[in-house]
Point group: C2
Chain length 159, copies 2
DNA sequence: AATAAACCCTATCGGTTTGATGGGAGTTTA
DNA sequence: TAAACTCCCATCAAACCGATAGGGTTTATT
């Protein structure tokens, strides 16, 4: 299932990787109460994510501490924390990097523009920091549980 | 002056092209009252933008109607409109494309996710539309005149 | 009319990221 | 031992990004 072959590429903040990751985590969040981990092929099927790509994504999410894995037969993935305590912003930061549209406007990964006249106090930086803050406000205020609930509600109405 | 050789690449919403474009437009906005157009090398120098790259950017901005050019000796670029009536969001859209972090959340360039279970009503789409709206609110609410004034003020203090 | 200064425009380049896959090694349970 | 998993390396094509080369065209001045 190659998606990039179907749609024209658009430079964007949310990569395919992060989108897949969010969908996968929604699936795992829904399974949060279960005792058994969910095998990767099950997650891939439910979240509509290519199996091998998901493998890389879940590996990444495990290293960032969002999920844990059990190997061998009857193995799979499960959440490590309550989905209500995981901010969407942290997931996206883990998979896609900083939220800010430009490094000099980032709080978590600040880097000055080397081609800027006065990198500490630049009009573009000011503006982009406002953008960053607005984005972070939305994404900090939404938890994985919120997202999963929203998706469950949408699915209940339509297909 | 190659910047990409100095800093690690970070996927970002505001490309170097848009950043350069905004800086160049600030320079032209400051010159907005003058009768003569500003030659490109002068813009390049004041905005710290590579000459040839700026050429491509100004061409783009001209095609989008933000600036006009006069050819031949004593030629150059000048604003077509009052900088106070140009939204920063429109400049960024012209140079970088849609503001939305993902095509399905865009108002100006909507495209459904082809790998989405129900593309019309998806939790991620909802959330990303909120992000888009928050971003647009900041960028729609700031004009080129605002940006240029902010930069002028910063320069008056430092540098 | 010659010349210089400026914009116009296409084509191209290297480097990097992105999305995606293959293949095998390791691990656990039955 | 076999089956069913995860782990992790290496690799790939396509796209994009930043930047530049090198002509062609237009205009003002002399």
């Amino acid at each position: 299932m190659t998606v990039s072959a179907w749609i024209a590429y658009t430079q964007c903040m949310l990569t395919q990787k992060a989108k897949y990751g969010l969908r996968a985590l929604c699936v795992l969040a829904a399974e949060s109460g279960a005792h058994q981990p969910l095998p990767i092929h099950e997650v891939a099927q439910r979240a509509h994510v290519p199996h091998k790509f998901l493998e890389a994504i879940l590996l990444d999410l495990r290293r960032h501490g969002f999920v844990e894995s059990r190997r061998g037969k009857a193995g799979g993935y499960s959440m490590t924390r309550d989905p209500g305590e995981i901010r969407v912003s942290d997931i996206i930061r883990a998979l896609d990097g900083p939220l800010a549209p430009i490094p000099c406007a980032s709080l978590t990964a600040y880097q000055p523009c080397l081609d800027c006249e006065n990198p500490k106090d630049c009009a573009i930086q000011h503006l982009m920091r406002q953008v960053r803050d607005a984005t972070a406000a939305v994404l900090d205020g939404t938890t994985l549980a919120d997202l999963a609930a929203s998706e469950a509600a949408a699915l209940a109405i339509h297909g």
